[in-house]
Each structure stands twice: as C-alpha cells, then as structure tokens.
Amino acid sequence: MKKLFLTILALALIPVGTQAQEITLKGKELFGDMKARHIGPALMSGRINDLELHPTNSRIMYAGTAGGGVWKSSDGGATYAPIFDDHVQSIGVVTLDPNNPDQVIWVGTGETWTRNSVSVGDGLYRSTDGGGTWKEIPGFEDSERIASVVINPDNSDIVYVGVLGALWSDSEDRGVYKTTDGGKTWNKILYVNPSTGAGDVLMDPKNPNTLYVSMWEFRRSGWGFNSGGENSAIYKSTDAGKTWNKIHNGFPEGKLGRIGLAVAPSDANRLYAVLETEDKTKNGLWVSKDAGSSWEHLNNDFGLVVRPFYFSRITVDPRNPDIILKGGLSGSISRDGGKTFKNLGNMHSDIHDIVFHINDSDIIYSGTDGGVYRSWNGGTTFEIVENLPLSQFYHISTDNAEPYNVYGGLQDNGSWWGPSSSPGGVEARDWNSVGAGDGFRVLKHPTKNIIYSEMQGAENVWRYDVDKNRTKTIQPLPKKGDAELRFNWNAPMAVSAHVPDRFYMGSQFVHKSDDMGDTWTIISPDLTTNDPNKQDQSKSGGLSVDNSGAENHTTIFTIAESPLDQNVLWVGTDDGNVQVTQDGGKNWNNVTPNLVGIPANTWVYHIEASVHGKGTAYAVFEGHTTGDMKPYALKTTDFGKTWKNIISDDIDAKAFVRNIQEDYENEDLLFLGTEFGLYVTVDGGENWSHFTNNMPPVAVHFIDMQKETNDIVMGTHGRGVIIIDDISPLREVNQNILSKDVHFFETEPVTMVEQGGFSGNFGAETQFVGNNKPTSARIIYYLKKRHTFGKMTMEIQDMEGNTLTKLSPGKSKGINVVTWGFNTTNPKMAAAKTLSFGGFTSPRVPEGKYKVVLTKGKDTYEHIIETKYDDTAITTAADRKNQEKMTQTMFDMVEDLAYVVYEIGEMQTKAQDVIDNNPKGEKVAQNLYDALEDLRTDLVVTTGDNYVASAEPELRERMGELYANIAGSYDRVTGAQMQNYELIKEEFEAEKKRFAEIKNKEGKKFMKFLEKNEMELEVESKEEFLSDK
C-alpha cells in the first residue's frame, strides 16, 4: 500500500520535475507576508467627496474620500476604518440601499469635485455584506466619475446611476442609467452629448417615479478648465425616467454651469438649486416651491457662488425645509429658507458634502479638503475626526536621521515633516508644519538642518532653519530683461548631491543657486514648447473665472541631477520635452524626438537619474490630462539617444505612471508609482507585480528609497505616507532562489537599538497612530509553498546549538518576515499568590552570531544572523559585560528561588497528604508543614491581589524587580543596584540556610516516617523543573 502510494505521489510530481519552467511569481505569491505600513499623517486628514449616513442606525456612517477609499464608522463618527482597500481609492458617491442599509452598499468611484489634481475612478461596486466584500457591477468600467446612485425605496432592484464621466476628454459613457433587475442590465435613460455629464440625481421623497437630474457641460485640459455650456440643465421625469423635460422656468437665458440640486425631505414640492449662469446677478441659490414648475432667485452671496465646480452641494434639513446647508469655501447655513446665510464655524476650508444627523439637526457632519468634521451645536463649532489618514501628498523625500524623517507637501494642507518611527507609534503630535497653502516638494538640505519648501506656483519658496526657527523666502524672481517666469502649480525643486548648498528650481528655465537660494542664475533656455495656446489662464474656469494658477502650463516639471556627475542634469516638462545637459547647463540636448511610444506633448512627470551609469535614466510620462490613461516608462543608458519601454502587460491599462524609483544596488529592481498603487519589477521591467499587502491601489505620486534602511517610502495622494520596510530581499530574488523550498535572505548585522523613552498618550484614544518600523532583527526567508501540513517551527540558537528562544515563523508562500527582539526566554518564577512583574522580563543576548533554525517536517534549515551593540551606547564595554553578568546572576538567583519554593511546595503537599491520611505521622508532618509555611511566607507573597489589595513585597518580588531593572537597562549596573543585590543575596542565603535547617530537623523526621511507612517524596531535579517552562 505504502509503495503504491509513493508511486502516485511521484507521478503527481513528475510534470513539475521534468519541465524546467521559469518561475515567475507575481503579486501576493511573491511578496508573501511582506507588508506595507502606514504612518499618516491624519492630523490634517484629506479631501472628502461624499458622506452617507445609515437611515436608522445613528452609529453607522460612511465617508467616500477623494483619494483614500471608503471609510466606515460604527461608533457615530468617533472613529473610522477603511472598507474598500482592494479597489480604486477615488470615490464619487456612497449610497446605502434604503431597504437593506445594514448590508447593501453601492459605491460609485471617481471623485466628482473636479479640481486639477483629482484621481480617477473605474466603475461601480456593490457590497451585500456591509462592506466586507465588494463586487464590480459591469457596465461602468469607463465611467471615470460617478456622481449619484439612487435606489427606489419600494424596490431595491430599481436603481439610477448618474455618470458625470471623463474630465479630460469626450465620453459617451456619461448620463443617467437605470436598472430594474438589481444591476444585471442597464439602460441609459438620459444622455445629452459627449461633453455633458450627470451630476445630482434625485428622487422625489414621496414618489419614486419622479426624478430630477442636473446635467453639466464641462472639460478640463492640462492648461485650462471650462465649466458651462448650452447643455447644462435640470431635467425632470415623472415616469421613472422614460421621458424628461427641462425645468428652467424663471432661469436666465444662455449657458449654465455646474448645478447643485436638492429636494427637501419634508416637503417634496420644495426644490433648491445653485446655478452658475452668464448673468452674475442671477448666480447662486434658487428655489422652487412647486416641484420645479417655476423658480425664484434667492441669494448670490459669495458662499453660494464660490467655485461651483468644487462646491455645489446643498443639503436640506430632513425635518425643516427652511434650513439649508451649502458646501463652499467655509460652508453656509440658512435658517430662513435660503434668503440669508451665515458662514459655518471654523473647520478646514473647502466643504464638499455636509449632512444632518438622522435624528438631531444640532449634529452636523461635514466633509472638507481636510477630513470629516462634527458639530454638536448646529454648525457653529466643529471638531475634526482624528483617525482618517487621507493626506494627499504631491511629493515626499527622506533624510538620513535615525529614525529617518519624511518630508512632503499636501493638497491644500501645507507642507510637513515627521518621523518614520516614534515612541508609541507615529502620532499627530510627531508632525511639524513647514509651509502654508498647498504644499508640494519639501527637501532637506543634505548636510545642514535646513528644509526647503514651497507653495503653489512657487509663489513662495521657503528656506527654514530648523534649529534657529527662522524662515526666509527665496524663490527665483525675474530680473531686468528676463521673460515672465512660468512656474508649474507643483514647481520642481532639487538639491545637489555634490554641492550641498546648491539648489535648483524650474520655471520654463532651470534656475541654479549655489548659496541655498539667496542668488539665482538661469542656466538654460526655455526648455518647454512655449506654446502660447497653452498659456492664457486668465480665462480659465468657464462661466466662473477660476485662475488659481493650477492650470499654468508649458513649464518644467522635473529636474534630476545625476548622482554620479554634477554636470549631468535631466529636465522634463509638462508639455512633453525631455532635455539633458552634460556640461552643467551650457548646452542642452532636447532628446524628445528619441522617445519611443510616447504621444507628443505627454507630461514628463518624473525623471530618475540612475546610480548605475552616468547616461542612465528613467523617465515616466502621463497623459491623463488629455484622457490618455496608459502607463508609460522608458529607460535610457546613453544620455537619451535611445530609449527602451519598460512597461509590461501586467500593469493595469489605465494605471498612468507618476513616479519611478530605482534600487541603488540591483539595476533590475524598480518601483513604479501609478494611479492605482505600486508595482514592482525584479527583472528590469519584463514582469511587474502589483504590491497589495496592506497597500491599497491609491495614487502613488512619489517614491523615495531611504538608503540606510532600504525602505521604500511612498507619498500617496489619499492615504498619506506608506512605507515598505527593507526591500533588500527583493534584490536577491532570482530563478535559483525561487526554485528552492526554503531560502533565507542575507541580512546585514543588525543593531540592537538601545533607545527607549516614554510615550504617554492619553487624549489620543480616537487618533490615528502610524505603525513603527520594528527595531527587532528581521529574519527573512522565502517558502516555495505555503506550509499547511505538519510541524514547522523556528528557534534561535547560540552557535553551540543551545536553544535561546522560540519564534513563530510565517508560513506564507513567498517572502516571510519574522522578527526577533534579541531576547532569550524569561526566568521561571517562584509560584505565589500574586504575579511578580519582574519575571516577565527576558534577558537580551550579547552581540554576536546566532543560528536561526527552521524545522519544517523532517527538514531543517539554518541561517546565521549577527547582532551588534548600538553605536550610541551610553555604557562602556566593560560595564556592559558586567551588566550582562549581573543579569545572568540575578536570572539564576530568581530561578534558584523558584526551585526552593517548588521544593517547599512539594514537601508541604506530601506533609498535607500524611496529615490527612496517616494519623500516626500527623505530628511530624504538621511540624514540617508549619516550619515550611513560615519560611514560604517570607519568600513569596501569599496574600492579597495584583492591585491595591496587594501584600507587602517579599523576597521574590524584590528579587524579581532588581533582576528586571538590571536586565532591562542599557546602562551600567548602578551602585544602588549593587548594594540592593548584596542585601537580597544575603537574605536569600539566610533563607536557604533556614530551609536546610528545616530539612535537617523537621524534614529528617518526616523523611524517616515516610521511609518507615514505605512512602516516597518525589521531587523533580532542578534541571527537570527548569526545563518545564
């Protein structure tokens, strides 16, 4: 039987054995349990697109965010958790099924407040289990932005979807769609033209066959925006979408822009609309009291007309048709049916959605450019939700501090820097502000404690002296004879790796400063196409002029200095040029014609000058502002004469690329930041893997690789800073390794970090706290197959093979990471009534080499890791040896005591047995028992509890505490500790002597009795006792 069995097994394996197939592991199969960690920040949160409340359970609410997915609160908005991390993170709308709001959630993706920096969506999704899992509803793949999902409260199979559609191109996917079979089939029931999309879709609160829709004609390009046209309109249907009529009775003639629309839940005839028209006096709020038959103009205050493309949400109090909230720069509230408004209380500006609590209109939730806010007093005071890490980075950089800091600028939230790790985790208080307005690039001076930051369009570039707390404004300014400088909204800056005080900026020219920005020299001609058709932003905006500077075009967007040669500079422009100089700017070579497969004028988003060769560089291009979402990345090794495509089919066809980061050691290891998350290649771009372990498909705007730690640090546009710790194992991945059952990756000797402070954090209960980088040793190995059957264990041994401690190995297929905190096992403590907390301390190992032994079934795999002491140690080598020796001495003493107490206990048990069962021996036994009990109560605590009813500490407790203090310290053993040690040692010696005397006296008599009665006292040897931990 067994033989047959093995034959079958062998047969099953043959196909694998004979084909020498190349192993290409992708995604989770390769990355195994290698995980990203998120460090926020959440203190300024990020842009919210849509809020949705559960209709009956006031604890449940959702936030659909602009670039950070869908978040659910189950505690009335105190805290939120992400529930959409496997899907595109740009959200248009979240809608609960009114008939099953606990379980059925619809999410339309693609944010709908169409600023220049918006992300894109990829369709419609539905969960039927409260957000646990999601299914894509086919038919909306090319919708780009979904503004509305409305469900018939009488029949969940009837659903209307409003598709706003593509922002930068024509699209026939726009319009209103209807299903009557719960989403299986859809009909487009309202369509105007390829440039007019559906905004608000509303259902009459009393009659689900009556619908209202606002249509909007709009378009954005890389250099301008247009809101408004003949086709913007409000439509009404009274036959569930079969026929539609414009309801404009009272509106001014001519073009309309974006229209916000609301119907009062408590009065179905009351409609409100905010209009953008050709007649400024008629802009703002309109009301209809006859269900749209006629309209009356109410108000054109600033709060009602400001930036309609960005703020058009109106919300009517569910209980009072005269109370209206309007999104806006500050947000407005009216309590007189829209005649007058006042601003809402202080919160982050730019309010996109705002809702009333389902039962209490005093409570208001507001979705802003800076997160979700709550008001408890009808909108006068607002407080922020503290655990939404939605920060939208345009750019990040890192320094070489330990732990290193991350620097970056945020959409509408200034510039910041904060640590990659911090005691207790990376908290709100760890972040420091270093710039106002919109923040973009933030760079640390290579040698001085100085930070450069900027705001939009380089209106200000700051040089901040951290130590002296001084700020200076240093942007390049035009001098006599200069052309007008054109800076991008997100203007490029670069510091030199060769000349620490050198600082570059780009307008249409490259500006160079060798004195940290005090004086500037232009070192290039206009490197852009200088196309005048793309330079008139004064009319941008359409019906409402919107010239914020965000559309400035024909500018330099990226500057890269070669890390190998200060005279090699690469420049990429937003209008498609790649230029390079090899002589520090004297001569520039426009290599754009040499690019392969890149449509003309495609935005050069980033150039990475390689460490692997002077002429080697990577360039990524993205054309999404022309509607071209394709990923593009090229590599050159000859200063741009020839280029090679490094994109493969593995990458989502719409995952346009904003950034690339090369590895500093392995030229074939590359990281690609796309609109839909991070991709990694280990073979120079032949195959790419989507990294999805705790990494949502969020837009990755910038990637840096921190050189000391080999961490990949990502600035995401919606989920803050996300880090993958130490990617060095990926350098080693090759066919040889992938074909092994188990492979340990090499690791550098690891420092046993000695620092430790306090992290008291009351008041942070509802705050986001970012995970720290583990300071433990990382043991990294590859498993060819997931370990499921049979035993698999891991332990740390000294080089002689003695077990020091056991670890819990990961069993994933792919790369596994196990951490070891340099500890051996804790001592066995004497048993007592209460716990001795000192006993939970495990000694640290000395520096040196250790064996990691992985046992998998019958096979054993060994790997050696090396630990080293911290360079920042505050103790001498001799003192450290003494500390280690004393730790061992105390450890042994603690275990000696444990054994003494064990012996006492065993003897007492036997004595009790005799007392209970042998009247003849009762006296002898009782004498022994009492003597031992006397002793025991001096050795260990025998009364009280672990809290305030605790007994006075006995020998065990004092010994345990001293042991823990010595073992846990990174400094020399103090004089006080040595004196205390002498005291405890002496006391213990005395107690041991006392024990020996009892054994000799009462014990002897008792043993004699046992012997006479052919009874035995069984006591484990010390070794047996201690091995049984």
């Binding site: 047969l11 199969e29 958790a81 499921t788 035993k791 401690t805 716990l835 495990s842």
Partner: protein
C-alpha cells in the same frame, strides 16, 4: 490504516485539485471535513482538550483549551505557576478571571448571550451549518498567505453589540490544493481581524491546525486529547465563598 487513508485522500486532492473547477461552497466544505477525517468521525467527536502555548517574544505561556460538543468551553493559562481561567462557559454562564483580584467574574449579559449562540459550533461552525440556520456563499478564489484559496462567506445569527443587533459575518479561506482552512477573517470593533491556521496534524484520524496566528499572536498546540475527561466544576462559575 485510517491515517493512511486520510493522508491518501489529501494527497489525491493535491494531484487533482488544480483541474477541478466550478466548486460550490458545499463541495468545498464537504471536502474539507472529508480531508480532515470524515464527516462521521467529526460527528462522533465529543470534545477536545488542547495543550498549547502562547508565544510572545521571550515568553511562552502555557494554555489549556477545552471545547465540548455541548458548547462548554474553557481556556486556562498558567502564569508563574498560577492557573488562571481566562474564560469559561458552562452552556449558561460565561465567566472570566479578574486580573486585578484573581477572582471569577461573570461576563456581561450581551457577551454571554452571544456566546450562547455558538453552542453547536462544534467542531467548527461549518459542521452541519444549515441545521443551525447559518448560510454559506463561495465568493471566488483569492490569494491568501501567498497561495490560492477559496473564499467562503459564513453568515451566522446576528450578535448583539452595545444594545444593537449586528450582522455576524466571517470569511474563511480554504486552500484550493487540499481544502483545509488556512485563514479566517471577521470584523471586531470596525477592524477586520485575520486568523491563520497551519501545521495541520493528525490525531486519531482527525486533522487539526497545530499553529494558529491571531492578530500577530501565535498559539502553538503541543498536544490534542480527543474526548477528554471533564467535570462540570471546570466550566461552572465558582460561587464566592
């Protein structure tokens, strides 16, 4: 011989599974029970005692877990020679040990009621799940722990949370190669918690995971005793003297 047969089935599945398509949730659950000992054998099981240890860096805490077919449960840990009943349930009353006083305290009514609903989830909630009013759904395949799995959604009776009813949904990942569960997910306080299972080993014909990861904490099973001897007092709330 039984062992060999079970192993044989498991390996046979290894050989054929990649071809097998269009599984249903029921087929997967049945295969899971068959591959791990057989529906009948699982049905005959009256209870288990697991002797385990919880591993934290440098510390190994001995743990004893009792799970009985009639719903009685008990988890006991040993800290510095003290046996502490972490929680126990006798079918009616659930109780824990207060860490400060070392005294037994009854769990709150909601927690106890939620626990009561799990009576019958033995050896696990998939066993005769329909009889308990549970439902299952195959959601497709997903890569978990680097390997391909079938994702099955399990819906049990709603539980109570702070006075309100909440859906009770969990997700279970069955390795497509051998149909055993290698990971489970459920929501706790708004966050998804993942448990992993590995090191399946055979005890008298039944396969149990000997290694379980729970939110970064690992429980390693040292020994499993089938149909252990128990007494009522082990599970019962100790009335204060």
């Amino acid at each position: 011989m039984k062992t060999l047969k079970t192993l044989f089935i498991a390996l046979f599945v290894v050989a054929i599974a990649p071809v097998a398509q269009a599984q249903t949730a029921d087929e997967i659950i049945t295969a899971y029970f068959e591959n791990t000992g057989g529906m009948d054998a699982w049905g005959e099981l009256e209870g288990v005692k697991m002797i385990a240890s919880a591993n934290a860096q440098g510390m190994e805490i001995p743990v004893e877990i009792y799970q009985m077919k009639d719903g009685r449960q008990m988890v006991k840990i040993n800290l510095q020679g003290q046996e502490i009943t972490q929680f126990a349930f006798d079918g009616e009353t659930m109780w824990t040990t207060n860490f400060m006083t070392g005294e037994a305290e009854k769990s709150d009514a909601e927690t106890t009621a939620n626990m009561k609903q799990t009576v019958g989830d033995f050896p696990n909630p998939f066993y005769n799940y329909a009889d308990h009013g549970y439902s299952v759904e195959l959601l497709g395949t997903e890569t978990k722990e680097g390997t391909e799995t079938y994702k099955i959604k399990l819906t049990q009776q709603p539980t109570m949370k702070d006075g309100k009813e909440e859906d009770n949904i969990s997700y279970h990942y069955f390795d497509t190669e051998n149909m055993v569960i290698i990971a489970s997910e459920s929501e706790a306080n708004g966050q998804m918690m993942t448990n992993t299972m590995s090191d399946y080993q055979e005890i008298d014909g039944l396969y149990f995971p000997f290694d379980m990861g729970m939110a970064g904490q690992n429980i390693t099973i040292k020994e499993i005793i089938l149909n252990p001897e128990v007494s009522d007092t082990m599970f019962a709330f100790p009335e204060k003297k």
